[in-house]
């Protein structure tokens, strides 16, 4: 393997430490509840809750496609926000030209968003 100069920011060691502590806490709690609580089993008791009546079929039913549309919109706008970060950090160096560039970019986005709203795709009843 070619020798790549690895030069990480040492602050991430601290993040790693925090991750380790959080993981240890979660795992420890899992271990405690596995032994501490009572265990009672029964066919009716283990059934899923459905307001006391018999459960009807499988719970994983298809749902409205609008949630799917929201998720797609979220992905697109998330990418937009990610593009905004390097721009915002360098904003003062980029000046007016940078502002015009970004207004154009955001304008395209809002145009598409207007189309979506106009077609009623985000209308919830």
């Amino acid at each position: 393997m070619p020798s790549i100069q690895l030069q990480p920011d040492l602050n991430y060691i601290a993040v790693l430490l925090q991750i380790g502590i959080a993981l240890a806490f979660v795992l420890f709690t899992y271990a405690v509840i596995a032994v501490a609580g009572p265990k009672l089993k029964g066919k009716n008791k283990d059934e899923n809750f459905e307001c006391g009546i018999e459960a009807q079929g499988n719970a994983r039913v298809p749902y409205s496609i609008k949630y799917f549309l929201v998720a797609i919109l979220f992905v697109l706008f998330d990418v937009e926000v990610i593009f905004l970060y390097p721009w915002a950090v360098n904003f003062k160096q980029l000046g007016w030209i940078g502002l015009v560039e970004m207004t154009l970019f955001v304008g395209f986005f809002l145009f598409g968003f207007y189309y979506i709203v106009h077609r009623g795709a985000l209308k919830w009843e």
């Binding site: 790549i4 100069q5 690895l6 799917f68 970060y85 950090v89 189309y115 795709a121």
Partner: protein, 164 residues
């Protein structure tokens, strides 16, 4: 640091195998998220901090959420027949093998991969990346907004059936 690199590489490859091998699509998505985290950690080792954050936020935090939504929408928990036709499997293996061949050939012709220039170790930081993106690569950046526009129209067309 070398040890960390190999550790992360092993995690990435193992979870990538998990994506392909697990039968439940939800587990596949989880394995893929695990792969993304391992790769993001590799970026941090190379001091490409912004790239690492983007990898987590966009891939693990947004696209995988969309995948999960789709899996839940399509109700994939009832295991569909996992045994596909053998012809389909053969074709998949053949195309995969071809891709592997191309990759090996490309790597061989690349010759020695030079070590990353230590003087350039700050290239992955957000300030430098932003300056390059908004000066040198401005046109591709603006054109990408058209791509997003097309994606929005596509999403509406897909969802239109139910809305109409």
């Amino acid at each position: 640091m070398e040890i960390l690199f190999y550790l992360l590489a092993i995690v990435a490859i193992a979870s990538a195998l998990g994506v392909v091998l697990s039968k439940n699509p939800v587990y596949s998505v989880l394995s893929l998220i695990c792969t993304f985290f391992a790769i993001a950690a590799q970026y941090i080792l190379l001091n490409a901090q912004f790239l690492a954050a983007v990898h987590i936020i966009v891939y693990a935090g947004a696209i995988m959420v969309l995948f999960l939504f789709v899996i839940m929408l399509l109700n994939l928990n009832i295991l569909v027949e996992t045994q596909r036709f053998t012809t389909a499997r053969l074709t998949a293996a053949f195309t995969g093998g071809l891709l592997c061949l191309v990759l090996i050939a490309a790597l061989r012709s690349a010759g020695d991969i030079k070590a990353a220039n230590p003087a350039n170790a700050k290239i992955g930081l957000i300030e430098n990346l932003g300056m390059t993106l908004f000066n040198q690569y401005l046109l591709p950046f603006e054109v990408s907004s058209l791509l997003f526009l097309a994606a929005m129209v596509g999403a509406v067309v897909l969802a239109k059936k139910e809305i109409a």
